[in-house]
Amino acid sequence: MKLVVIGNGMVGHKLLEELMAANHADLEITVLCEEPRPAYDRVHLSEFFSGKSAEQLSLATPGFFDQQGLELRLGARAVGIDRARKQVLTAAGETLRYDKLVLATGSTPFVPAIPGNDRPACLVYRTIEDLEAMTDWGTRSKVGVVVGGGLLGLECAKALRDMGLQTHVVEFAARLMAVQMDDGGGRMLQRKIEELGLTVHTQKSTLAIVDGEAARHRMQFADGSHLDTDMIVFSAGIRPRDELARQSELGVGERGGIRIDNFCRTRDRDVYAIGECALWGGKLYGLVAPGYEMARIVAAHLGALMQRTQAAPLPEFAGADMSTKLKLLGVDVASIGDAHGATPGSRTYQFSDERRQVYKKLVVSGDGKQLLGGVLVGDAAEYGTLLQMMLNGIALPEAPEFLILPSADGHARPGLGVDALPASAPICSCNNVSKGQLCEAVGAGAMSIGALKTATKAGTSCGGCVPLVTQIMQAEMKRQGLAVNNHLCEHFACSRQELYHLVRVERIRRFDELLARHGKGLGCDICKPAVASILASCWNEFVLQKEHASLQDSNDYFLANIQKDGTYSVVPRMAGGEVTPDGLIAVGQVARKYGLYTKITGGQRVDMFGARLEQLPSIWEELIAAGFESGHAYGKSVRTVKSCVGSTWCRYGVQDAVGTAIDLENRYKGLRSPHKLKFAVSGCTRECAEAQGKDVGVIATEKGWNLYVCGNGGMKPRHAELLAGDLDTPTLIATIDRFLMFYIRTADRLQRTSVWRDNLEGGLEYLKDVIVRDTLGLAAELEAQMQQVVDSYECEWKKAISDPQTRRRFRHFVNSDAADDNVAFVTERGQIRPATAKEKRKRSRRIPATVEAQ
């Protein structure tokens, strides 16, 4: 069978995946893709602005289009369909024969017919190219307007705001998100958004766009007012791309859309239409989940046609539920089912808290037994429960208002145990995964959210179902008698976060005390270092003092990194990578005296390898005398603050990058944390210090500093994200204080900021809420805790060498001054390296002659 698919968007691509997975023998597919790249994740398009590349957004797995029987033509647009000859005509003048044809052409943004709408910097928001244009104009603009206050419009407004533009939303209707929200919800949403510094104009109809005075354009409104702006993005709805269908008379709706039946067939039995271009039962669906469902239906239909065997009844499209939950500009918004109470006889319950800015509404059936819909603004925690109640027709409790009222004493929230859901309940609508399928996958061994995603694909598209998927996984594991826990280890039945809390609240200062109160056994190599780190983050006592010494990982116990042969490396701190000639000479002298291998690290400092345990104290004595301090290369603590030369020397630099890097490194040196922390400071946007790959990245701007957080190199690189922009230096430091302490409080053991951030519910917006906007009211406390650590800093090596008790531990033998005869070096390129096992065997073993036994 020759199949032609027009459009390689999200839905068209889902069809290809389904068909290829079924391994049909005689299927030849040609895909016409108008865009210059294969399908990408439009739903997460906005993440392009936070650093996701086009490749990262791609939906095509590597090698996907290399498969036999599949041909992708990029930059190829279909311009006509000859249904009589069963041919598609392309813009390049080619004709392609088909047995079956699928239209998956999506839609285009609707641009209202306003004179001047084609001026420069008047844009739309749909493709990667659109976003590139926005970024480009964004750098040359101060003010931006989004026309349209719907779901996409608000997402777009967020992008403009994040670019640092003064942002306005112009909406024709009387409220934001008019489709999903009622008046109360729309009003609350508007208030919250305005508090974030955006300006919302409702009931504005634009008459013309002309030259502006204060900015590039002026928008003239019907009420006589006007607004000057540098750029305009139209997000006033979408129109199905049905031009091919119109021209080949496939049948389109009055207001557009290609008419399809339950199998997604058009009036021509050989032509299907799926996704946003398709009109089913008079409805267009602008969301990805119904489109995916259509793709699955067509894949099954084509499969049955090719196999010609009588199979189970084919799936049919039966409409889709348009409930949505989003975080728009950091505001939780959800709309469920019949949000407007349009069902005859329905009743509503409303709750509104003007102070906390929360609005909630329920729509229930006339008899009060069934939930029909709802609206949630400001707090959408109940979304999952309410949605499942509605979809599965679960009987409402006696007093349904308690579903949305804040729980007062005595009234437990009537939650929906996931146990109440039938196995058939659809949990992930994007990927059509039911509760039953999830439970089955758990039974087959998928016992983490990652494994469950891989096994079922649930939660991999819009992500909205992840909390519910997690709940179901945990409930199922419990049901199967499997241990569900985030316990640190067998000695402590709680998570690192809980332990941190206990240590703080009960002011516990010793491992023994914590173990006696909250643990059992002796502890182990998991919990001891984790608790040692918590104690150090909280109270910052010397890590080698008697009560703490035995908790430290080997590297911390000897304040150096152990190497493969049992020797150690020595890394003095060179804050910001700055070192004087005298400092370099001193390091060189020490290295030469002790015969150490020397190398420049990836962290802008010098590392000396091959030091024996018993040499460490005297090496450090000499380094300290030359003015150096511990570089904490061994600790789960602040490693380095990389810098570029910045404005001091560089012709492009706009701020003193080196000075700030040094100040930051000196402020946070010694801070113990769940995992190591790396910083960098760049003097301008050229970013020579690679700050966007660091846990904390600082980039100079004309006005101050942009602060990026949660970047990572290493095993799984992650771009850092902008937490706050144009900060002056004191605000920069206060913000970093809060960020670091919040991470230390809440992260898991050995969880870098990148992984912590990826697991943080609420994501970047939540982080901004807590750190920048201080919505939890924690800022002062976090800053004070950091100040306490900063004030109690002492160089660990200085303490270690000046304390005779500690110093005595740095010996290989407790009863001899002999050296470890197992260590052997050979010379390479003029320096030492550990001998290989073979080289060692060749040497005669030196056996010490005396044993100092008493």
Binding site: E490, H491, G521, L522, G523, C524, D525, C527, K528, P529, K546, A549, S550, L551, Q552, D553, S554, N555, Y557, F558, I562, K564, D565, G566, L613, R808, R809, H812, F813, V814, N815, S816, A818, D820, N822, V823, A837, I847, P848, V851, A853, Q854
Partner: protein, 117 residues
């Protein structure tokens, strides 16, 4: 201590106070490197110091703890666990080490049993 080697005599290697509770030290006994551990105040254990996983003489520098009923040390390089009573390597039995006898003399000296050769 059924897996320990037959003991001929005892060698005093250090004072109990030379070992920080819940840590180890390395002692030279008859030319062999022995990792000696003090668990809690007075319990003593000893195993070979050489870590068969890394071929480095480092077991004395590992973290001491318990796994279930076993008292173990974790290799600082490979993180494998060794049962301090028997020397058994929990993760890779082929990496097990020898256990030595250890005891505390009345004068506070730590004694290691020397081995029949």
């Amino acid at each position: 201590m059924h897996d320990s080697m037959a003991t001929r005599g005892w060698t005093a290697v250090c004072a109990l106070d030379d070992i920080v509770p819940d840590t180890g030290v390395c002692a030279l006994v008859d030319g062999a490197q022995v990792a000696v551990f003090r668990v809690g105040e007075r319990d003593l254990y000893a195993v070979d110091n050489l870590d068969p996983g890394s071929h480095a003489a480092v077991l004395a520098r590992g973290l001491v703890g318990s796994l279930g009923e076993r008292i173990v040390v974790a290799s600082p390089i490979t993180k494998q666990h060794f049962d301090l009573r028997t020397g058994e390597c929990l993760e890779a039995p082929q990496h097990s080490v020898r256990a030595w006898q250890a005891s505390l003399r009345d004068d506070g000296q730590v004694l290691i049993g020397t081995v029949a050769r």
